[in-house]
């Protein structure tokens, strides 16, 4: 159990790397999944100008500030849901999980089944360092978000401009992310068999294998005493990287080697 606790600690530093694996679908309004018939509309050019500034800003701190300004100037804007989504992503870049949760929550209240927001929150919540009943409640919420994202992916009507190939790849990546989030939640709750099953689904589904997902799977196998499976998963993680994951995976493999 001590072993599994120390391994669970490693899930947290993986946050930034996991979340960096997100693809261009994270960019709300102008992403591929918005049906033209239901695109949120700006009511004035001035409103849209400010919104475009948010989209083109590169500094996460500036994005956060600009979204606050936008929300204050245009509290009834149809673009506010996606503006909060951008704010959520900016907080994510700053590793500010509280900010992610707040901005993501605001975005979800306006865009209830937005898959991007659901997935970001589902991935971010298990990385909080809270404990006790509040943490347990948050984990349950993360589980719900991940399930909602999975349901949403099967209900979305994709715009025809998105090719079938592109959609299937996007969908599989997002499903993999949802399963990874579910695995992470289960691992935090000590439900290792479920965690393993979810991480396995994540690694199998993802059309672009992620080192972070194999790393989590490897740690989950280790916690369950499945050393050979752990070795294979960690080796894959080390091959895929990025550097931090490779380093962590090699460290775990060395420990495994010494434990033999």
């Amino acid at each position: 159990m001590a072993n599994s606790n120390s391994r669970l600690k490693f899930f947290t530093p993986v946050l930034a790397l996991t979340l960096l694996a997100s693809s261009v679908y994270m960019r709300g309004q102008f992403g591929p999944l918005v049906d033209p018939a239901y695109t949120p509309q700006a009511k004035s050019q001035e409103e849209f100008d400010v919104y475009l500034q948010i989209l083109t800003e590169v500094s996460p701190k500036e994005i956060i500030a600009q979204v606050e300004k936008f929300a204050s100037a245009y509290p009834a804007s149809q673009l506010l849901g996606t503006a909060y989504q951008h704010q959520m992503l900016a907080y994510r870049e700053l590793n500010d999980l509280q900010g992610v949760l707040e901005a993501g929550g605001k975005s979800l209240r306006l865009l209830t089944d937005n898959v991007t927001t659901l997935l970001t929150l589902a991935s971010a919540i298990p990385n909080t360092s809270m404990s006790g009943p509040a943490a347990a409640e948050l984990l349950t919420q993360a589980e719900e978000y991940a399930h909602r994202a999975l349901r949403g992916l099967h209900r979305i009507h994709v715009p025809r401009e998105v090719s079938l190939e592109r959609w299937e790849k996007l969908r599989d990546q997002m499903e993999a992310q949802a399963h990874e989030a579910l695995g992470h939640v289960a691992a935090k709750q000590g439900r290792m068999q479920i965690a393993i099953s979810e991480f396995e689904m994540a690694t199998e589904k993802n059309p672009e294998p992620q080192g972070t997902q194999f790393f989590r799977l490897g740690l989950a196998y280790l916690s369950a005493g499945k050393q050979e499976s752990a070795r294979q998963a960690l080796q894959k993680a080390a091959e895929l990287g990025p550097d931090l994951i490779t380093q962590r995976a090699l460290e775990e493999l060395q420990k495994l080697g010494r434990a033999k």
């Binding site: 918005v34 004035s44 100008d49 475009l52 079938l164």
Partner: protein
Amino acid sequence: MGEHLQDSRSLLALWLLLFWLPGCDGLAQTSTAAPETMKRLEQLIRKEQWEQALRFAEQLVLVETNSQEPMLQYWLGFLRWRQQDRIKAVQALRSAERLGLSAAFLHKTLGMIYFDLRQFTLFTEQMEKAMRADAGDPEPHFHLGRYFESVQHNFGRALECFERALRLQPEHVQSIYYKGFCLEMLGKQEQALQNYHLAVQLLKKEGVRFSWPYQAIARILLSADPEQALQWATEAAELEPDIAANHLVLAKVHERSGKLTEAIDALHKAVQRNPTDGSAYYMLFRLYKKLGRSEAAEAQLRMFEKLKAIYGEQ
């Protein structure tokens, strides 16, 4: 319908080339930036060296005095739009607007980019500004008509817009075609056919390759005169072979004439060009079934059902 929408973007590119390049006449004279530099920009634009023109414009605008030049901001926006950088295009055009540029061409460009970004409220506003800036210009009415037809599916309102465009320019061929399309959607086939034939006459006179009226005539004649329909459908597919709808209509004509193999060939061309169109797969399913090729039929049906689940009803 989806191809009609895509078609509007290619029409915009054509329209911009035909009508707006001449608008850069005297770019050097009308701007306050250094004449030689603006002349250079004008030359690059006339030669359609878009990438070089964009790079040059981006360098020019870094000079403080130039950044206050509305026409330079306008061309920067136009060039960025050509390079698919729609957000920065809007930002440059808005700079031009704030610097006092209020010409119909600015509002039309900005409006079309808003359309591209699915900002239809702002698109409509810009078209109305363009109409006020130049009451004799049919283009804003045409584009509003396209919006009502392709996005709102409000063929009555679209028809009003195309008719206004035609009052201003009776031989505006795209408006004639789309007026015909709206009439067809409103159940007025005879009147639609008249407009399509008029569009074809004008297109032949102007030597423009635009196949939609040919396709439309084939579609209307399909039941009553399949032989004639075949000629029109074939001509449409030859004029613009990259338009999936041309091959789809040709397939229907072949099917009507009992030429199932030819119909299947045409449908395969249609799906190659528009792989997300479930209706073509459904038609393939029916035709393969008629030919007794049940495995092939089942494969097409599975594809149809997959696309319907992902993209919804056509």
